[in-house]
């Protein structure tokens, strides 16, 4: 029920009423509202119950196991939130002068340094406000590099068929044509196919490593050599950085530019569309093009680097410096982990994923790449169940909700039919993983004995199976009283 439907004329909540009438004298008569706004009129208790109930309907990392592959839904430490809410950080005005912002700037500078070290890149800019903006900035820098050299014939960006959809989108937004590279049956890029399309028209290649099929690209060194030899640059999509944090560095693999999703790997709240943070790191030759502002430290004072310091920068991506609150939380997370904790993230996230994979295979589920060790995530294919039992991946995903588990990523990557992309993250205990395995086995059993139960799921949620086809065809987003 919408809160508007509970509304009764004249009912109100004293707690929400203004304590004194606002001074309207500065607002011209012509701009003042003539009728009162159509707000719901409810009692304080109705409002409390309404929003409490809504919050209870939510699936979130605070309430449920959330193995949403490629999204790294790990626990967000409360300390990050409390420290980022310190008045000095929370109340800082973006126009505050540098002299009044030394603490804030010091946090950002340290975060730049930490990210440089953990990725092996030469320089980092924190300013992109989300992963997609980081990608855009990364490809824009590749473009700026080629343009500065007068190398205008490079018009193509290579993208594997398993890539996140944002990769080709970012390339196109920067004016490049996209060429797709196939993935081999072992999950690695088809290097022979890559060799055939590399040439003087190649601007660069965008890779995720480990890739979206949940395995490490084993021939990355050879790929880097081939692309560099052709005059192209290597772009690292940091979506799966959680798998290699503190263990392997994209800079050492030969990448020239990387974006990181701090809201994923560095554990800030995300889901529901943000806010995010997508810092970019670059090798030495791309440093002049980094987006501004960045933070500099001369040994005594911290200051912003702007257009004057970086005349070749691709420019600004937002009015200020990205999502400061997210950056601060990521900084706190990194400091809490420290150097030792950083590599435990990847150790435990890959251990958890491989444990789940192995146990689920023992339970009779088919892995998409059974001969490969998982990274921090892995893919099951329910092709067999769909064929033999008529119960598909979407049915499994919906039934998981009934058991209090957020569904894994479904039907992505597109090249694996009927797939579930499962990422448990390092913050789940073994007991929680065991429960997931148990639930998957129960659903498998149900699919055999009572398939309708699974096909009509969810049964226990406030909203039942949605008609997503009709919703997409007849989109209706307005509520009319």
């Amino acid at each position: 029920m919408l809160i508007y439907e509970q509304s009764r004329p004249g009912r109100h909540a004293p707690a929400q009423a203004p304590q004194e009438m606002a001074d309207l004298s500065a607002i011209p008569e012509s701009l003042r509202r003539e009728q009162s706004a159509k707000l719901p009129e409810v009692s304080e208790m109705q409002a409390v119950r309404h929003y409490t109930r809504l919050s209870q309907k939510n699936f979130s990392i605070d309430t449920h196991f959330y193995p949403l592959g490629s999204c790294t839904m790990k626990y967000n430490p409360r300390a990050g939130n409390s420290l980022a809410s310190l008045p000095g950080l929370l109340a800082r005005h973006p126009h505050a002068p540098e002299t009044h912002s030394q603490g804030f700037l010091a946090c950002l500078f340290d975060l730049q340094e930490i990210l440089k070290q953990v990725t092996g890149m030469h320089a980092v800019s924190l300013t992109p406000a989300a992963g997609a903006q980081g990608e855009f900035a990364g490809v824009a820098m590749i473009r700026a590099y080629h343009d500065a050299r007068g190398d205008a014939q490079r018009t193509e960006i290579l993208v594997p068929d398993a890539a996140h959809g944002t990769n080709p989108a970012s390339a196109v937004m920067c004016g490049y044509a996209v060429r797709e590279i196939p993935t081999g049956s072992d999950g690695d890029i088809d290097v022979d196919a890559l060799k055939q399309v590399l040439g003087p028209q190649t601007a660069g290649i965008m890779l995720t490593n480990p890739s979206t099929v949940g395995v490490f690209e084993r021939r990355i060194e050879e790929i880097a050599q081939l692309v560099h030899a052709a005059g192209g640059l290597l772009y690292y999509d940091g979506a799966n950085l959680n798998a290699i944090l503190g263990k392997v560095r994209p800079g050492d693999m030969g990448f020239d530019v990387i974006h990181m999703n701090l809201h994923k790997t560095f554990s800030t709240p995300h889901g529901g569309g943000g806010p995010g943070a997508g810092p970019v790191g670059v090798s030495q030759r791309l440093e002049p093009y980094l987006p501004i502002p960045m933070v500099d430290f001369d040994g005594h004072d911290y200051r912003w680097l702007t257009e004057d310091d970086r005349p070749h920068s691709i420019g600004r991506l937002s009015a200020f410096a990205g999502n400061a609150g997210v950056l601060i939380r990521a900084y706190i997370y990194a400091r809490m982990l420290g150097r030792d904790g950083m590599h435990r993230v990847s150790e435990f996230s890959t251990l958890n994923a491989n444990y789940l994979l192995k146990r689920l295979m023992e339970a009779g589920f088919d892995a998409a790449y059974p001969e490969r060790r998982a990274s921090h995530e892995f893919i099951l294919t329910l092709k067999r169940q769909a064929k033999e039992l008529g119960v598909n991946t979407m049915d499994f995903a919906k039934r998981l909700l009934d058991y209090g588990v957020h569904a894994p990523t479904t039907y992505f990557p597109l090249l694996v039919p009927e797939c579930l992309l499962i990422e448990p993250t390092e913050t789940e205990a073994k007991e929680e993983l065991d429960r997931f395995i148990e639930v998957m086995q129960i659903i498998q059993q149900e699919a055999q004995t009572d398939p309708e139960q699974v096909k009509q799921a969810p049964h226990s949620l406030p909203v039942k199976r949605l008609d997503d086809v009709r919703a997409a065809r007849e989109l209706d987003l307005t509520w009319v009283k």
Partner: protein, 130 residues
Amino acid sequence: MTDLPTDLRYSKSHEWVRDEGDGTATVGITDHAQELLGDLVFVDPPGVGDNVEPGGDCAVVESVKAASDVYSPVTGEVLAVNEALGDAPETINEDAFGEGWIFKVKMSDPAELDSLLDAAGYTAMLAEED
């Protein structure tokens, strides 16, 4: 699997093309393709007058699961697009080889049709994929 129309040619990327015998051809996606995609919710056809070529993406079909590029099996100029799909993309789900056609093209080189698969070849390819 039901028998495929034998008067059509097929591409490896799951388009069909029908030679209309007057230098033009009609293009759509196969029944297998619509089945993989599931219920279609949107079709973005090429523009009339666009030049299309094999391997070049020229249209998009979108289902609740995925958006997928449609590639032209032949070189030529787009003569007409199936406007009815704008209101009823599900026509492709219902009748992929008939009412669900996507565009008509004036072929620059009808000989290109010979390099495409026939019904038997396409069936064999699907069997292999499975």
